[in-house]
């Protein structure tokens, strides 16, 4: 029973990682860049939701929608101002720009909302008791897992069935050829950023429901973990991000419970290194042999 409860808490933490990792992996697959500012979009999402519920007194569902809308706009603006001018630049230059954006968001949040941590109240409260009270699951965990599954299914359908999804797949395969076929590459990339940022807002709200301290640096650690999860599953692969996120959450939760609290992150990273040494392209990544 205890094991089961750790497993479920790991699963819900993993679901948050998976939602963030989806944003990373989609942007990587299409724009071939590591968007280091993604973690900070999560933080902005959390703050918007916090302000909407506490200061404006909006209902939670409206606050979540508002924070998704703000983050979507933010994502598109960041892409347009900072990344679009660097389309042809080497990937490291784009990486450093993304770090600059990350600094910018963190410091803007510091100026706007102050350094003091805000106590974020979970979007739903209460727990579900099973087996005569032996197993308690918070509704937030259930909501997170459900949200992750819905997002995963919705995203897969969108990528595989819709016209824009087809354009995304084409751009990720070959940007030049896609452009020759009449696909608007810039618009496709902007849409990807919009979707990724909206997901980040959802992830921000859910993440803050678990660890309620909201600070300008809140986004960086889940950002790094989710990035790890995306690579773990094979970066660029959407099911990979899902699987990687869930596994990472479960390993972290079980390591914390059974091995060592202070070393939990190290154990997660050690597992990652071992997996990558055995499978250099991640769990579900395509290994592309080099042609000479």
């Amino acid at each position: 029973m205890v094991f089961l409860s750790y497993l479920i808490s790991g699963l819900s933490l993993g679901s948050v990682y998976a939602i963030i990792a989806l944003g990373y992996t989609m942007v990587y697959g299409i724009a071939k860049m590591l968007n280091f500012a993604h973690g900070d979009v999560i933080m902005v999402g959390g703050y918007i939701c916090f302000i909407a519920t506490t200061n404006l007194g909006l209902p939670v569902w409206l606050a979540v929608i508002l924070s998704m809308a703000v983050c979507t706009v933010l994502g598109v603006v960041i892409e347009g101002l900072a990344y679009k001018p660097l389309r042809q630049a080497p990937s490291l230059a784009v990486l450093i720009t993304a770090i600059g954006v990350s600094y910018f968001l963190q410091n803007a949040a510091l100026l706007l909302w102050g350094a003091n941590p805000k106590m974020f109240s979970p979007v739903v409260t209460g727990t579900l008791k099973l087996f005569g009270g032996q197993l308690t699951i918070s509704y937030v965990s259930l909501l997170t897992i459900a949200a992750c599954v819905i997002i995963m299914v919705g995203l897969t359908l969108y990528i595989n069935k819709s016209k824009m999804g087809k354009a995304m797949r084409a751009v990720s395969e070959d940007k030049g050829a896609a452009q020759l076929m009449g696909i608007n590459v810039n618009r496709t990339i902007s849409t990807t950023f919009a979707i990724g940022s909206a997901l980040a807002a959802v992830a921000g709200v859910l993440y803050c429901s678990f660890s309620p301290m909201l600070m300008p640096t809140t986004g960086s650690m889940p950002g790094i973990k989710a990035f790890t999860a995306a690579v773990f599953g094979g970066i660029g692969s959407i099911p990979g991000a899902f699987l990687g996120g869930l596994l990472l959450g479960i390993i972290e939760s079980l390591a914390k419970a059974y091995i060592s609290t202070s070393m939990a992150n190290s154990i997660v990273f050690a597992v990652l290194i071992i997996v990558l040494v055995v499978k250099p392209a991640g769990l579900l990544g395509k290994y592309v042999p080099e042609k000479v």
């Binding site: 490291l92 450093i96 720009t97 770090i99 600059g100 600094y103 910018f104 960086s220 992150n265 050690a270």
Partner: protein, 358 residues
Amino acid sequence: MKKGKKINGAVLKDYLTYAAVVLAFIVITVLDQQGFINNSTRGLLVPICCYIVMAVSLNLTVGILGELNLGHAGFMSVGAFSGVVASLSLADAIPSPVLRLVIAMVVGAAFAAVVGLLIGLPVLRLKGDYLAIVTLAFGEILKEVINALYVGQDSAGLHFGFNFRNNISSINDLHMEEGAKAIIKGAQGVTGNEKLATFGAGIVLILITLFIVMNLVRSRSGRAIMAIRDNRIAAESVGINVTKYKLMAFAVSAALAGAAGALYGSNYASVKASTFDFNQSILILMFGVLGGLGNIRGSIIAAIVLTILPEALRSFEDLRMLIYAIVLILVMIATNNPRVKTLLGCIIPRKKGSSANE
């Protein structure tokens, strides 16, 4: 004949770089003696030296070997802590602070090189972003491991403890004699450290680093490393041992970072593992990229400018990090966007030099 002349030109450029570093040292020392340098700037001198060494050594892996390293601060951390342990434990045996600083840097470099070799092993199978994430992971692991480390010293020698399952909560759990000395106290890190580092030592370390890296780049090994960067398969097919040269670049870079870490650690009264986190690695990467990948002199300039910039922006108070971020983004766009580049080229004829100094 022509080839020989070209090499001479390059060597001359190296000498000019050494001369510039020595000149900078003399100028700053003279200015300091005349009282032109205030306390906060003086406090930056040793960290700037450390960052220059870090940036140059990172450039060896990122710019010259062509592999992205997101955990360079981990090597710095290993160097800092092993160096400080060496210098503090030898405090009674060796009274000379200069000698102890040298020992600290050598020990730091040696430990970091060993760790660099360990990290280099998975490197052999991975490339690109996968390798980057492994270096990031190693950096985070090193941070947590050092966070859980307890080291103390008594007459029997050094005692080590590792807080794995909350089994050690303070230095007393190491079961040492009365009056034993605590060196590393877990997450608290090192407290009560002796300030051994001097600006002169930093300059000497920069000169040694430049000497090693510049000569390595121009040697047979350096050419092999660059051949691997440009085309691994072609390099392999002409008989270059990819494993050997990749490990060599990794270990040299780690050793230099370890020495810089030891110097950095010796500059502060307290050293914590959390100082050397992912953000620190990113900061160093930023120096390397802004200075130009593979460009040693560019890294030096970028390290100096980017360390001074937040201090220079102090008059903007709260806005300074925001301005720093905007400057960073604008510089990246200005140096990499083809349209802005041609525009800059029209205004400033020598656009290459100007963009590196911006």
